[in-house]
């Protein structure tokens, strides 16, 4: 009797979770704080930055100066029967260079917390 009941509960659980999926992924890696700290303002060059962080995703020109833009995204998605919610969080890093190609400023600031794994699509 206990075995039959357990089987029925297992079958019921399997039916209820059909169509459920949980997914996580990311575009590019997180910025490592130790790599960012190795960038020396007033000393590091474009090549030094590229050696530490790789080639930037974008190069922006502002007031005749270059800015290296790095970004990454993290995705978490949950689907439960007919509710689905996907949360994406992006983090950005900018490295400003002088007209001589020397690092003037590094913008990283407060990193956003990782996305929540949710399936409920209502509310906040």
């Amino acid at each position: 009797m206990i075995f039959v009941r357990s089987m029925l509960l297992t079958v019921a659980a399997a039916i209820l979770v059909q169509g459920c999926a949980f997914f996580r992924g990311n575009y590019d890696d997180d910025f490592k704080q130790e790599d960012v700290e190795l960038i020396k303002i007033g000393a590091s060059t474009r090549q030094d930055v590229a050696n530490l962080l790789g080639a930037p995703e974008r190069v922006i020109e502002v007031h005749d100066k270059e800015i290296f833009h790095y970004y990454n995204y993290t995705v978490k998605s949950g689907t439960l029967i007919f509710f689905s919610r996907t949360n994406v969080v992006g983090n950005d890093l900018y490295v400003f260079f002088s007209s001589d190609g020397i690092v003037e400023q590094v913008l990283l600031g407060r990193q956003k917390p990782p996305p929540k794994l949710q399936f409920w699509p209502f509310g906040d």
Partner: protein, 145 residues
């Protein structure tokens, strides 16, 4: 297990079977966090610098040069989408339909919206805040049958 609870469980399972393949879907996608007016109370045009803004809000999503300076943008996107496949239960009542691809008789309704909340901050050539403004369009994100 009490009979009432057993009946409820069977009913829920039957509902899950009937709804398999998700004929009803509420789907939501969000990108980044909302920045609220309270979060930017520290910004004082003419005094606050880019470093101050980044320290409090993090690095922006984009930086763009304009003639008078530079504009940085923080964006939050919210997309909501609802779809219903009204013909999904038909094969249960007309088993003959199983012989045909469901593309031939499928009828779906769907709709939604994409809303954005954006903070724009413009800096002068010395990276001091000139102005900041919010664009509130999050209400555009809603489930539309």
């Amino acid at each position: 297990m009490p009979a009432r609870r057993r009946c409820l469980l069977i009913l829920v399972c039957l509902l899950a079977v009937l709804l398999e393949g998700c004929p009803l879907v509420w789907r939501r996608i969000t990108v980044n966090e909302v920045i609220r007016p309270d979060d930017v109370s520290f910004i004082v045009p003419g005094a606050t610098t880019l470093a101050d803004v980044v320290k409090n809000l993090g690095a922006p999503g984009s930086i763009k040069r304009v003639d008078s300076g530079t504009v940085v943008r923080y964006q939050f996107l919210d997309s909501k989408y609802f779809t219903i496949d009204v013909t999904r239960p038909l094969p249960f009542f007309f088993p003959l339909l199983e012989l045909f691809p469901n593309d031939l008789y499928q009828l779906k309704y769907g709709g939604g919206g994409l809303g954005t909340e954006e903070l724009q901050v413009e800096f002068d050539k010395n990276w001091v805040v000139v102005y900041y403004a919010f664009a509130h369009h999050q209400q555009a994100s809603r489930y539309v049958p």
